[in-house]
Symmetry: C2
Subunit: 142 residues, 2 copies
DNA sequence: ATATTTATTGCAAATCATTTGCAGTAATAC
DNA sequence: GTATTACTGCAAATGATTTGCAATAAATAT
């Protein structure tokens, strides 16, 4: 644990968002103006390995990784497709589902990620339902 | 629907894996040697928009997108951290969970992704349990 | 405390998957 | 047929992430 690593982890913990490496760097660099973006990346990957941070790739369009401090309990995410707001939630019911799955398939589950995509309360009103025109292509397929 | 698009979609449907764009191109190019990788990308993005394909980013380490034909029913994935094998499964129980969540948070869920990471039967035996040494850092954090 | 070894950093350059501009083709409309 | 439009191949651009390396800091040994 070096000064930089401590700073990066502290900055991440201080946030209640899921920052990108750049966002995190922008914040941490205020405390240590010489802190480099590659150090942020390296540290985040290290923290990930150590199980203290997890990388989230739930941005719908191709984009940057986001980082999530792995505070004790696992949690899951709802993401508004429109405004990109995130709701975090626990899912106690998942335990049983996982166990069933483990028994059924004879595997060991180490972690689980549940992501819901949709429209948040605010966006739900503004946006009408979305149409898909090529649905009929489905008929061509087995 | 052009010749290329049809070929790409057919190649994807024919596979039972979740190929990367490159893998898919490698296969489709056998039928049409002039097929270009950017056409594969463009087509996959188009299919995604049309709701016929979904992009999966469940490769653990930073890597390529993988593509999954969206045949009628939603399904979910178990991924072996060791051999990267994938088990697909349905999760009927999720419907209720989603509804509960929608009511509780007043949102509309449009899609859901559940991913389990772990060790498959085969890998389970070979690999011992994994240690994390920096767990004690947790105590430093709120 | 000083010298020695080891790990981490900053910086710049490299990497790699994905996207984009554009001129040429194929498809479709008139 | 010609005009209009959409799609493709190719090459170059993009953008996030990673890496090599020399400099710096931390840890360990003397
Ligand atoms: Mn989170
Ligand atoms: Mn699948
Ligand atoms: Zn919203
Ligand atoms: Zn396995």
């Amino acid at each position: 644990m070096t000064t930089q690593r401590r700073l990066i982890l502290a900055s991440l913990d201080a946030l209640d968002t899921h920052p990108t490496a750049e966002e995190l760097h922008a914040i941490a660099v205020q405390q240590d103006p010489s802190l480099n973006l590659s150090t942020v990346y390296r540290t985040l990957r290290w923290l990930e390995q150590e199980g203290l941070v997890s990388t989230r790739r739930f941005d719908e369009p191709r984009r940057q990784d986001r980082f999530d401090p792995m505070l004790p309990s696992q949690h899951h995410h709802f993401i508004c497709k429109s405004c990109k707001n995130v709701i975090e939630f626990d899912l106690p019911a998942l335990g049983d589902i996982q166990q069933d799955f483990e028994h059924l398939h004879q595997v060991r589950i180490e972690s689980a990620s549940v992501v819901f995509y949709g429209l948040c309360t605010a966006c739900n009103r503004q946006n009408g339902p979305v149409e898909s025109e090529a649905e009929r292509e489905l008929s061509q397929r087995t």
